[in-house]
Subunit: 336 residues, 2 copies
């Protein structure tokens, strides 16, 4: 053992010496957030990460407690002119219509098939849930995932004529990677249904299925005729992951309070309050949609992604508010 | 940049040369499962890990898909003479009794206070849920966690006169560490309530809160009088994580099918079936309690941890069945 130890010792010192020599030649570190304009918002992010990762510092947080939570719609990708998952549901209604002749006369299906958005909007939350149940349940979990895969491959966003997954925010991709590079575990906590997201979040955001939390339908374990087990999606909403549901879901799925949370609407308000109420260093962020040219501009009166009360609290308490127009050099990866 | 590249190159070759020299002096690798006796069970575990981790092999599984699921009671720690969480509930009834004079005459509380185990057992699942609601709800999540911490620090197991967390299985601790060392993500999926476990699983098993799935009570977000938000535990069972509930919960919390699952009772049967039904290499394991001297011996007729149908399927399909008496050198860490 002594000769092994001596040998390792020698290796260590040679490596240290050469590393120091190499370090002197290295360039300054690259900007981890190149799509963020310099200013107080970018500074607040980098300052927070520096403080919680500085070993021996007063605000050091151990890596296991570096939990970062992100809303999805309007925070990591766009949500206009309609939530992208709603576009999926409408396309599924059209695809399934031949098997459902009764939809020609039954609302809200008739409105979808007629392209009658006014009647569709008037059907409200009840109509929305009916559409979700008709398009998101009644099949196995594997079958549902397959329909999402196929839709993403073919559907195009009406304004940009690109796959919906192209409309993720480049600055937020950089932020996710920057946080993970600093030992954070990144989660999505979204009002969207969880199995719609899990199909693509790993490839698009680097966030694996087990770190995606969302709205759920009841699922049931069944043994099929061939003896194989399956999970069947039942026509019953189980948990709506929005507003006060978000801190509840964070507690249920993550089991500890995040130290960083990012949202964009009043649906994220309680999640931000829950994050803010913990001890030690905290980061609460909001994406404010201020760029009608490159993306969309909306806040207090929007039907989608309304940002009103959470904005008031953010401004009053000094949470970080990203002004998309001012703070982001580009919006989408394809614009680089 | 050229001098930096050249320097790094030199460093690399020096390091490689010294590493090879050191490797020649190294001893054979240590046994990762020293508390497991040699035999077909230990071989089946190590063979499975070798096959799924061999880069370029036909059965290679990428690290992100190496999901390993473990039941807790009877699989990672003992569950006799009563489930340890049930012992916690009984102790809480005794501690809370002064505030509940009505319990002196009301069942099943009277039976607990009188030490009348026969009447208590006769109260069945309804009585159990009543006890759980009285002792596990009506407080904030933080307050509940604190009662678990305090109980674990003072309660002693009646047979071993040791803290309950001493009664974890040494061979399973080695298995968890071995799997994680080979890129697996280890989860608990237990019939126990999730917030009872999360307090201690990271320290005892190296499994962080976000990888613990269990039975849940409804929780509600509230703003307290001082304006601070809190999560209040409500007197309503939300999800019973047992039997067919386990694959449902795995799908909901993990979002992908495990490649390895370990249980010890019929409550783990569907979880093992769900694991077995996936494609590619699979490992299904059962801990069979066969050691009445060092632990307990029970299976087909036990009220706690009954193992009957799952044992039949395991034997018929060649799943791995651990014979505790034959396969484990020691049971608990304190016996080493």
């Amino acid at each position: 053992m002594r000769s092994l130890g001596t040998c390792r010792h020698a290796l260590l010192w040679v490596a240290v010496g050469l590393s120091l020599a190499c370090a002197r030649l290295a360039l300054a570190p690259a900007d981890p957030l190149p799509s963020w304009n310099s200013g107080p918002v970018k500074a607040s992010i980098m300052d927070f990460v520096r403080r919680v990762t500085m070993a021996g510092g007063a605000e050091f947080v151990p890596p296991t407690a570096r939990i970062a939570i992100f809303d999805n719609d309007g925070t990591l990708w766009s949500e206009q002119p309609i939530y992208f998952q709603f576009a999926f549901a409408l396309d599924r209604v059209r695809a399934l219509a031949p098997k459902h002749p009764e939809w020609k006369t039954r609302q809200p299906f008739k409105a979808v098939l007629d392209g009658d958005l006014k009647t569709l909007a008037a059907s409200g939350e009840k109509g929305l849930v009916e559409l979700l149940i008709a398009t998101h349940t009644g099949m196995t979990t594997d079958e549902f995932a397959q329909t999402v895969v196929e839709w993403l491959a073919t559907a195009r966003h009406p304004r940009f004529q690109r796959p919906y997954t192209d409309l993720v925010y480049q600055p937020m991709l950089e932020l996710l990677a920057y946080l993970r590079g600093n030992g954070f575990k990144t989660y999505i906590v979204s009002g969207g249904t969880v199995e719609f997201m899990r199909v693509w979040t790993e490839r698009s955001y680097g966030i694996p299925p087990e770190q995606v939390v969302g709205t759920t339908f009841v699922t049931q374990f069944q043994t099929r005729k061939d003896g194989r087990p399956a999970l069947m999606r039942q026509p019953k909403l189980e948990f709506l992951n929005d507003g006060p549901g978000k801190p509840v879901a964070i507690n249920k799925f993550v089991g500890r309070r995040p130290i960083l949370a990012f949202g964009n609407s009043d649906g994220d308000h309680q999640m931000l309050q829950w994050t803010a109420a913990g001890g030690g260093p905290r980061f609460m962020g909001l994406v404010h949609h201020t760029d009608g040219d490159r993306e969309w501009a909306y806040d207090r009166t929007s039907h989608i992604g309304r940002l009103d009360k959470a904005l008031d609290e953010a401004l009053a308490k000094g949470w970080t508010v990203v002004d998309m127009k001012r703070d982001w050099k580009v919006i989408y990866p394809f614009q680089r």
